[in-house]
């Protein structure tokens, strides 16, 4: 049983963080970063995030897992068809990876190889169904597995998305398909998260709020214009713009978010984008 699933089952507030595989084979910086994850239960390993080609998330997750860092393997439907997804998942299980975050994936258009053919053979609901099947010992066509993987499958949600009911019907489908926890897109406003958590409550699945370290007003505007699903509210952009030390202000905002998240949901997912050394200050 993964620490993540155990802590969520115990009702303990969890902290997750994330790490991006390198573009190349040099894993040393990733291992250095992993050492900075103080007070973090598990680390998401992103899968060609933002549709930018990197070393495989499975490879880095396996290496981190072997060196004692608990990981959450992110897997998107963008780059692999159903056969590749199933075999990668079995491979992940063979490395002792249990926690999964199963995603549709950003469109290839956003990345560094926009001419690539996006796959999307499955969507995230179907991917969750498939994982549930693997855990029950069968592949997607019902053939029995010799050796059954143990997973703790999670899914993503964007509490800010409108129309809310439309977004939420998919969240409900993900729960039906076996999602055991949710990590959300970056959230900045308590009332947005409260609305989402109260809709989630009858479904009984824990929610981990996405907390993004926004280091400047400029970065906030970039996120708003370029990153699907991320919306930094105007008042926070203004705060960052006016702050004499925008990084310190960004840490303060993330710290405030973590503080209310402790009352509202079951954990936080810290997206520090290379500034993992700030994690202790955000959690303080």
């Amino acid at each position: 049983m993964s620490h993540l699933s155990a802590q969520l089952a115990d009702g303990r507030f969890v902290v997750t963080a994330e790490i991006a595989p390198p573009k190349g084979t040099n894993l040393a910086p990733a291992f250095d970063e992993a050492k900075k994850f103080v007070g973090v239960t598990a680390v998401n390993v992103t899968d060609n995030q933002g549709a930018n080609m990197r070393l495989s998330s499975l490879a880095l997750a396996a290496r981190l897992q072997q060196s004692g860092t608990e990981t959450i393997l992110q897997l998107t439907c963008r780059d692999r068809n159903r056969m590749a997804l199933q075999s990668d998942l079995l491979g992940a299980a063979s490395f002792g990876i249990e926690n999964l975050l199963l995603l549709s994936g950003d469109h290839s258009k956003f990345g560094d190889q926009p001419d690539a053919r996006p796959v999307f053979d499955l969507d995230s609901v179907q991917l969750l169904d498939m994982v549930t099947g693997l855990m029950a010992g069968v592949d997607m066509v019902g053939k029995p597995l010799n050796g059954v993987p143990r997973f703790f499958p999670g899914a993503a949600a964007n509490p800010v998305a409108e129309p809310f009911e439309l977004m939420f019907q998919k969240v409900a489908k993900k729960v039906e398909s076996g999602a055991r926890f949710f990590q959300t897109q970056a959230v900045f406003e308590r009332r947005t998260m409260e609305r989402f958590v109260s809709a989630m409550r009858p479904l009984g699945v824990p929610v981990i709020a996405g907390v993004l370290l926004v280091r400047s007003g400029k970065m906030a505007r970039f996120l708003n214009d370029n990153i699907p699903g991320v919306k930094v509210p105007d008042d926070l952009v203004e705060r960052l713009d006016k702050a004499p030390d925008p990084m310190a202000e960004g840490i303060a905002i993330a710290h405030e978010t973590v503080a209310w998240a402790r009352d509202v949901c079951q954990g936080v997912h810290l997206m520090t984008l290379g500034h993992e050394d700030k994690i202790p200050a955000i959690l303080a």
Partner: protein
């Protein structure tokens, strides 16, 4: 109809550099309707080729260039002109080009890029609404195809990139799932939202597609 557009002229120039005389073929169906390979465009191409110092031995607009037998018949009617040419230039979709290339020994140069099966919004404005997947879900999605009009072809609702009901890849475009959701609401039915849609059967679209009417239907 099949929406196509003229290849960049510099590409055509390169492809045609080895030939001095050409026979031109247009199509009276889709390529005419989207103004890529009708009489007018074949004439313009001829003018351009003459400016490039090429000879044009003749031309024909085939009723439906994708009809292999009809293409053969029309080419026979222009046997001499085809014979005199070094190569044929076809202003039709990829199907049309291949109907011609399967009927002549000579090199056939396709002059168009074929893009998609398009609906006409208004003259000159075409939109892809169907991607011919062979496994139609429209009856559950209020007549709006998510396979085609969702950029990711998702079957169980919108992705996390939907912002204010718009698509992540182009904020000018409505999220297909928002449109499906709203139209189903108007129709007061759950439709596709009533179930988890299983993975799509892509074997229905195995290439190359083949279909024959059964005995008694033809």
């Amino acid at each position: 109809m099949i929406i196509s557009e003229l290849k960049p002229l510099e590409d055509l120039q390169k492809t045609l550099s080895d030939f001095s005389s050409l026979f031109l073929v247009g199509c009276a169906a889709c390529a005419t309707a989207c103004k890529a390979g009708g009489e007018e465009e074949v004439f313009k191409l001829q003018e351009w080729l003459l400016e490039q110092g090429k000879d044009v031995t003749g031309s024909v607009i085939i009723d439906e260039a994708c009809h292999i037998m009809r293409a053969a018949r029309d080419l026979r009617h222009h046997k001499n002109a085809v014979h005199e040419a070094d190569a044929l230039v076809v202003l039709a979709c990829g199907s049309g080009v291949q109907a011609i290339s399967s009927n002549v020994e000579k090199q056939v140069v396709g002059g168009l890029n074929s893009m998609f099966l398009g609906n006409v919004r208004r003259f000159g404005h075409y939109e892809e609404m169907c991607s011919l997947c062979g496994d139609c879900i429209l009856n559950e999605t209020a007549g709006i195809c998510p396979v085609t009009t969702c950029a990711k072809g998702l079957l169980n609702g919108p992705c996390g990139g939907m912002e204010d009901g718009r698509c992540e890849i182009d904020p000018e475009i409505d999220c297909a799932w928002r449109l499906i959701y709203e139209r189903l609401q108007t129709q007061q039915r759950q439709g596709v939202f009533a179930r988890r849609v299983p993975p799509k059967n892509w074997s229905r679209r195995r290439k190359p597609g083949r279909y024959r009417l059964k005995d008694g239907e033809s």
